[in-house]
Amino acid sequence: MQIYLPIADMPVNIFLVLGMGLAVGYISGMFGIGGGFLMTPLLIFIGVSPAVSVASVASHIAASSFTGAISYWNRRALDLALALMLLAGGIIGTATGVWLFTLLRALDQLDLVIGLSYVTLLTVVGALMTYESVRAVLRARHGLPATIRRPGSHTWLHGLPLKVRFKRSKIYVSAIPVWTIGFIIGFVGAIMGIGGGFLLVPMLIYFLRVPTVTVIGTSMVLTLITMASATVMHAATNHLVDAVLALILMIGGVVGAQFGARTGQKMRGEWLRLLLGLLVFAVGLRFAYELMVQPDDLYSIRYVRAE
């Protein structure tokens, strides 16, 4: 069944898009991430323009992270104070990202920047996650505790001023790295159409020593707020949010996420991280391939303006 998308200006198969929403939702529920890094490329693949994809996926991620955030809130596994502190940086990051997005679109280099950001970010993060989780799996196999780092260990980040205490997460850190992380996530999210959950979770664990209990819930709240504001900002500045597309994705996404979460809870943490690491890495390689292999057609047409 075909449905015509009013902003993307093209018909899509409603079941295909719904299926994509379900599949990505399943993965997002399983790993506790938004899944934008999978959804945006999939949409581009079926012919939606990169700009519309990035802008519409933002609202899809907002929906699935809201579902996640509610369940973490009910389980009190969510540090609202930390999320709001990250958000302070996140809002500025998102605004900067949307501004750069508009600029790059005008300069005709948006596709390249999106492509390059995907390659670098996904391959690096994917490789690091795979490496870390393989070590954890091996350690677990030898009967050692899976985590190497002790929660109490301090880095130079803990020496920075403006210290704040986050009670729910039981950490006492400077606000500066918290703002910085928030900024990076907001910025990257707005440009790449990703929530940045797969980036934020490791950052919170390794840089801020946020305990695993609160990390995913906190990440979901931040993702929710940055993606909700990215939706509004993209709609207000670029007019590219396709609400019909977003709605189909959301419905598939929230349903898939429920089933994914059940699968995820049955798996061990390090195996889950290994799978996610491999997935992220593979998507990164796919983008690298696209940039490095000679395209079928060297020419492409870009719409400039109506006359």
Binding site: Q2, P11, F66, I70, H234, A236, V255, I301, V304
Partner: protein
């Protein structure tokens, strides 16, 4: 049936009157003048019917007619970009702007255009994709290039691939020597706006008569409502989409609530 339609068209022509003061008169009618894009739109095909009415005896004696129908969509400025390998990756390095070119262009004829008239006539009347003016911005100038300019060739090729440009030498079919029909295919991602349809009648390699018609492609109903809202009230539209996301998320958490 076809004859009946032709006869009705003929009557319509008489009713309208006018037309060019030539040896032949052309009357055309479109199956619909407005294409509305609603949520189930997957492309469309319009049919153009026409009759040729000879006005004098000299024309009546002629029987070998050729028709060329040029359908042009709303004008757009488009940029054709060329990729090149730069330090291992493929990057858009060069681009050419095509200024005010048709977003949709169909050149439909009863025979391949090269057989219809002499090359200079074809060029003058812009018949055939190779003869159609596609001005490019080159430096500070705006001009059409030679036919085999790589950017022009790539542009036309890509537009044909997307179903937006086409040239067909068999799309106009004569039902009787004086009645013809032509199918005008519109792809699913057809550009919105006003279309001009220019019908030219050739007799013995010369332009004998010419007429035109118009067509409008618009979004309708819900599609139009959403598109207008997104364009004119971006902020409100964004807030509404965000609320929709929150509502969907909330409903899901209620429906799938586990204890």
């Amino acid at each position: 049936m076809m004859r009946a339609i032709a006869f009705m068209l003929f009557l319509a022509m008489l009713a309208c009157g006018g037309g060019p003061a030539a040896a032949e008169r052309l009357v055309v009618s479109l199956s619909k003048q407005q294409v509305a894009i609603s949520s189930n739109f997957v492309g469309d095909e319009l049919v153009l019917f026409g009759t040729i009415e000879p006005d004098d005896r000299a024309a009546a004696a002629r029987s070998a007619y050729d028709l060329v129908i040029t359908v042009t969509g709303p004008r757009q400025t488009l940029r054709t970009r060329r990729k090149q390998r730069v330090v291992g990756i493929w990057v858009n390095v060069d681009s050419r702007e095509f200024v005010r070119v048709p977003s949709y262009l169909a050149i439909l004829s009863s025979r391949p255009v090269a057989e219809i008239a002499q090359p200079d006539i074809l060029r003058q009347l812009q018949i055939g994709l190779g003869n159609f003016l596609l001005p490019q911005r080159i430096g500070s100038d705006i001009a059409d290039t030679v036919n085999d300019d790589p950017f022009r060739r790539a542009f036309v090729h890509l537009q044909i691939q997307h179903g937006l440009y086409r040239e067909s030498g068999s799309a106009v079919i004569f039902l009787t020597p004086a009645v013809f029909r032509a199918a005008i295919p519109l792809p699913a991602d057809v550009p919105l706006g006003n279309y001009a349809i220019d019908v030219k009648l050739f007799a013995d390699g010369k332009l004998a008569a010419r007429t035109n018609s118009t067509l409008e492609v618009t979004k309708a109903g819900f599609e139009q409502y959403v598109a207008d809202a997104a364009r004119d009230h971006g902020l409100v539209y964004g807030l509404a989409t965000m609320l929709m996301a929150l509502l969907t998320g909330w409903i899901a958490s209620v429906v799938f609530k586990r204890d």
